[in-house]
Symmetry: D2
């Protein structure tokens, strides 16, 4: 359990009121919690710039009738099995599915895996979420 | 099956050579496939601007020892059960887990759900992937 | 002059130390100043989502030997003269120049102006900075 | 003058029709021009990843009554005079101004300059446009 510390912040009243309105609407229970989130976001951004181990979620949308695509996808994921931890498959409609793969590794390798997936013929859309192992983030 | 059409594109040789080098490195098997991907990305961006039904993946990293967090998360997801289609849970280490929720709905509602999740006390990081139902995209 | 207010924030020591290291490297003179910047960034992002009057900078890179381009650019800027406040022109080398146009108006109109500029034949690159009139931001 | 080359692209009719509608709305005069822009955007993104010489526009919004800010800004810009090529200053209202600085150099140095500017006390908002010298882009 990390030790708590308390410190003072000085801000113009007018900007603090706007911030309070914004975070209330977003659902925050306290100002400290909102500040902490702003900090965490900056720290996770840094992790991706600094070649530390990070976590990502690669989402892929494709037509499962597309011949051979799923095989090539599975092969690619297995080839990168040290990075791909798990995948989840959803049927969006008769034709379309979404697969979400949770990956872990160095930023450059994860980005390159996402690029290779995107270049597979027949894949409709591929996106990468950049998140964290949580290790350095309280 | 959508009908194929073939058309000509005129480009400066020097820029085409750079593009060819770039897409070869990314793994594309043909120039047409790479162009198609550029188009699809633009079209999916538009879907998120135009209030059409879209698909997202919300990733959350948190310490599962955080008291009550997982309950509040599950409750929030159930409250939005028409949007949340499925979730997957991964153990990153002794303390940290990642949950990836696949959500479907109007862009504004999905963004607001992601904001509410992010504001939960104890959640370390929350990100949203913006992707597509695949319906309008070949 | 806006009134200052002072309040307490509670954070885990470990995350605060990381934040302090980060902002020292970026050049901040105080923690309050860094928090204020995080808040301002959120508020300016909101301004662009909420259809309020905002300010942008449109940058354009082009070859000034490109026949007719500069005329079409000037014409477009004048057509939107209520939005375009001023432009600055820089010679990057014998062929290339950069023009930076400061624009003001509703987000949708500014984005559409930037799109129209980008679609001009011969323009090499067009980007839009999304910033603020400063009015609501202390 | 770069040599033109003509090549064929095969695409599903349905996606091409959507693309044509999109680019017509954006103002493109031809499909080739729109494809070229998509390529240029990718190439400029790469330039910023590959540590090549690039160009940026740093926009700063601040209250010019803020004591000492403009001096510190000018000093910082002069300290980086090899990067800052020119600046333009606009009066947004009685209090607020926008300064747009055109900068040139390696991506890391430009980003670090933008960070240092942002950390100046009293600066309301600082953004960075990432563009190109135009040299490698036809």
């Amino acid at each position: 359990m990390s030790e708590l510390t308390r410190f003072g912040v000085s801000l113009e009243k007018s900007i603090l009121e706007k911030f309070d309105r914004l975070i209330r609407r977003q659902g925050y229970s306290s100002r400290s919690e909102a500040f902490k989130d702003l900090i965490r976001q900056k720290l996770v951004e840094r992790e991706w710039e600094e070649d530390r181990e990070v976590v990502g979620v690669v989402s892929m949308v494709f037509n499962h009738h597309q011949r051979g695509l799923q095989d090539r996808l599975t092969e690619l994921e297995h080839h990168h099995f040290t990075q791909v931890i798990a995948t989840q498959h959803i049927h969006l409609d008769d034709d379309n599915c979404l697969e979400a793969a949770i990956v872990r590794g160095k930023p450059a390798r994860i980005r390159s895996l996402a690029e290779r997936i995107q270049s597979l013929r027949g894949l409709k859309h591929c996106s990468l979420v950049t998140t964290t192992t949580g290790r350095g983030i309280v």
